[in-house]
Amino acid sequence: MFRTTLAGLLAHKLRLLLTSLAITLGVGFIAGTFVLTDTIDAAFAQKFTADAAKISVAVLPDGDKADRRQDPILTTGDLAKVRGVRGVADAQGIVQGTAPLLGKNGKVAGSRATAGISVPEGALNRTVITEGSSPAAATEAVLDKDTAKTREFAVGDTITVLDAKQVKHQFTLVGLFDVGVNQELSFTGAVGFTADTARQMTGAKGFREIDVRGGDGVSPEGLRASVAAALGSGYTVKTGTQLADDLAAANNMDTAFIRMGLLLFGVIAMLVAALVIYNTFNILVAQRAREMALLRCIGATKKQVFGSILLESVVVGVLSSVLGLLIGLGLGAGALAVLGAVDAPIPTGVGVSLSTRTIVVGLVIGIIVTVAAALLPARAATRVAPIAALRAQVEESTFRAGMLRIVFGALFLLAGTGITALGVSKDPGQDALLAVMAGGCVFFLGVLILAPLIVKPLSAFVGWLPARLFGVPGKLAVDNSRRNPKRAATTTVALTIGVTLMTLISVVTTTTRATVSEQLDAQFPVDYMIGTQQHDATIPRTVAADLRSKPEFGSVVAVRETQTRIKGQSVNVGTFTVDPEFKVAPVTGSMQDFGPGTAAVTSWTAKELGVAVGDTLEAAGKGYRVVALLSDQATPVYGVSLTEQDFDAAFPEAMDRSVLIKVKDGVAAETSRRIVEAATEPYPAVLVESVTETRGAFDEALDMITMIITGLLGLAVLISLLGIANTLSLSVHERTRESALLRALGLTRPQLRRMLSIEAFVLGLIGALVGVALGATFGWAATQTMVNDVVFRAPVLQILGFVALSGVAGVVAALLPARRAAKASIVGSLASS
């Protein structure tokens, strides 16, 4: 039996390859994910180790005492103590705080303040200077090379940096440095000073870390013990190696998150691949019924027939998984190259790592999925009666919808609809979303069961135009597409999965965008927002007063915020100045009652605090009655809003956090922009944001996310197209004599090719239509669970694009099988049975 199977496989290399490709791509993606994340982990570990080699011992404030809002610090006293320990050759305190760099326009550069760090002298220096030199004097500074590039600063220039009190200081730029793998610094950008200057500029009360270098012959472990003993409790003292290990472990947590996200798409791809394999084996078994029957005739048992099919699937599984691992290696390396090219903060120059785990996971998943998908077809093969070998022709399989199928399918559809409806009717939140997702999965199972029934009417619908447009080939193609409803259903469902998810994502993002902008327009009509880079920076109240005096502006609202504790939780509390044109629309309750002694709370915070309209909450020793709940998105103050008088009385030291400006109708954009900029000119730390631009940036970010997700889902679509190609080529094989007959009757080669292309086109469209319908419906349901008052938008053009692309992709998938069918000789095909 073993020999028969292998001979059969070798005789059909192309078929084997097509079948394997589906699994290969899935395994390749999964393996690629592991290769990518493993390599990043390894590279970080290597980098951390290299850095840590310079350090014998590192002292950190004790993590347990850390308050999240206030960085724990080490004092100069601590540093002196460490320096006094025997065996310490050198000890340096590491300073890191904010030191906003001013751009060439005199305003703070970027939306986030640059970090200010100390660049230690001597061997303990871990900062990599790429150009120029380290700062040696109080008037010298270095800048990270990415910020230098975007802000157009070069070595020798004079740069201006704000200190903690927002006073300008000038420095000579003496060098550029590489932030390396420090995610935080690469995000904000950083300015480096000598240790003393860094402390003055950032206003840091101490150090984040003290790095210690031991003298010759002093063991790090011994030094760690003596430093720890000298400092007493409240400190974490690590050797350099321990520090590197801990940093690497923390970093691995981050990559684990990325890995999980990517693997999710890998799982979807494997699911689609399983459908493709299942379909392929089903067709193969049907086509080889006579071969099976012959084997049974000459004495093979049912078990042996079952075994031979399973063995075939094992061979396919092993081959494709091995290929998949190789592809994964390539994918991982490619992704790294791309990340390196876009300057992602990832160490480069490390070899791609293929770990044993990657190999094991890839092989196991590939083989298990292949074999599991082949189980049912293998069982079907055992049902072939020996007598079938003697029948002249394999009968055309006729599909009859069994009662059981209809009942089960209907039950699943009903249950899915029920669960989804429950989710939609619930209050927005995670539970509701989960219910909708579960409902979607159950509903999809129902569609899967009923698909063979849906295919026929759908192909009539989709094929209506091609059948009329393309004459005989068109008509025959549409007939062929529904000839074997079960096969057509499985083929198209594989495509449906990808299209459903793509549509869902695009519906959700479009609706989110529409909802947010609608809410902003309706309740929060602002043209400019004045704010600051840093969370704790404020805007002098004179700015708002000044702007209010300009006739060009319709309304100017100042927002003040601070943190306080309510019911034991740290909550944002704030106020916004009254303006007749500026109305905040509540979700529940009424803002008419909003006056002294009352509060309005955003929905999420209200939930967190467990308060409702009518309840009283206590803040800064005074009680406030909640009169309204506000939207989480379109509200000036996130958290608790009080009236201006109440807020100023309770928190007199709070300054303006932001100023919202609505320009009067008819004022040109340049005019208004100039006035706003002139008013904020004296305050370099104050930033002007145009809401239009902000929304543009938001839209861009959303587009980016949609694009990435769609791209990742593209893999599942690609695999399902392989499935279409596979099914079609097997159908072509099955209909060899039919094609020959048509050719004999006068169908030209191009017409025969067209016939197959149209069949694939119809299959593609069926899959896409079902996917689009499901995706739009459940996308709608999902958006209903996110926020109240959703503005539903279906991205019609995008969805039509998915449908059209699926049809075209189907045609592409048909290219090879169609070529083969058209090339076949008529006489040879007529003779074969």
């Binding site: 002249a392 025959l476 007939d479 000839r483 004599r737 048509l742 009757l745 008529i826 006489v827 007529l830």
Partner: protein, 247 residues
């Protein structure tokens, strides 16, 4: 070589050779055949297995290429045509009836009959259609699919399909090979009637002396050569000739 084409010949072949494979493995299926098939006649091609009768038919019908020689269908020398031209020629001038698998399973009997016309984009001659349908005797079964028809009915549909486009010649390859004797007789009688009533030219390959006896003329092949022929054959004379050939 100058030759005039005899207009009374629907199909002629001259110096026809067909070789499969090369070198030592070469098989000479046809070794130089000279033959003509008269318009409005029913000719049977016979011969032992491997004599080349099917190859001859495939070549004559333009389904297979020849190694040497020329074939005319009417005034067209088909050995000079490319695939596309051949396809169009088959559409316009040739009808086929195969031993099995003559009909597309997805189409009804009537759709199958009309298929060649639809492929060619031509309208059916309604008078001819009605007459053919009447002769086929399938009346109420026209809406059925092939799987719902008996073997004999399927072959009659195939013949009707071949007739409907009024081809210059119909090639039938063992049309009764898969049928019981009664259904076979029905199909053969139908073929014969279409020759008499519609003046159709039919060339039929068969190994059955009884089937051959329905023809006007039988030609005999052996080892790729035309060896003899019989006019107004009976099953007995055909059988006798075959016995002599095989001996």
């Amino acid at each position: 070589m100058t030759m005039t084409t005899d207009v009374r010949q629907a199909v002629t072949a001259r110096g026809l050779k067909k070789v499969y494979g090369q070198g030592d493995a070469a098989v000479h299926a046809l070794r130089g055949i000279e033959v003509g098939f008269a318009t409005g006649a029913f000719t049977a091609i016979m011969g032992p297995s491997g004599s080349g009768k099917s190859t001859l038919m495939h070549c004559l019908a333009g389904l297979d290429t020849v190694s040497a020689g020329e074939i005319h269908i009417g005034d067209v020398e088909i050995t000079k045509l490319n695939d596309k031209q051949l396809t169009l020629l088959r559409r316009e001038r040739i009808g086929f009836v195969f031993q099995a698998f003559n009909l597309l399973p997805t189409l009804t009997a009537e759709q199958n009959i009309r298929l060649p016309l639809e492929i060619a984009g031509r309208q059916a001659d309604q008078v001819l259609f009605d007459r053919v349908i009447e002769t086929v005797g399938l009346g109420e079964r026209l809406g059925h699919r092939p799987t719902q028809l008996s073997g004999g009915q399927q072959q009659r549909v195939a013949v009707a399909r071949a007739l409907i486009s009024k081809p210059q010649v119909i090639f039938a390859d063992e049309p009764t090979g898969n049928l019981d004797s009664r259904s076979g007789a029905e199909v053969l009688a139908f073929l014969r009637r279409s020759v008499r009533e519609l003046n159709q030219t039919i060339v039929m390959v068969t190994h059955d002396p009884v089937a051959a006896s329905y023809a006007d003329r039988v030609i005999f092949l052996r080892d790729g050569l035309l060896v003899t022929e019989l006019f107004e054959p009976t099953a007995q004379t055909v059988l006798d000739t075959l016995m002599k050939l095989e001996a």
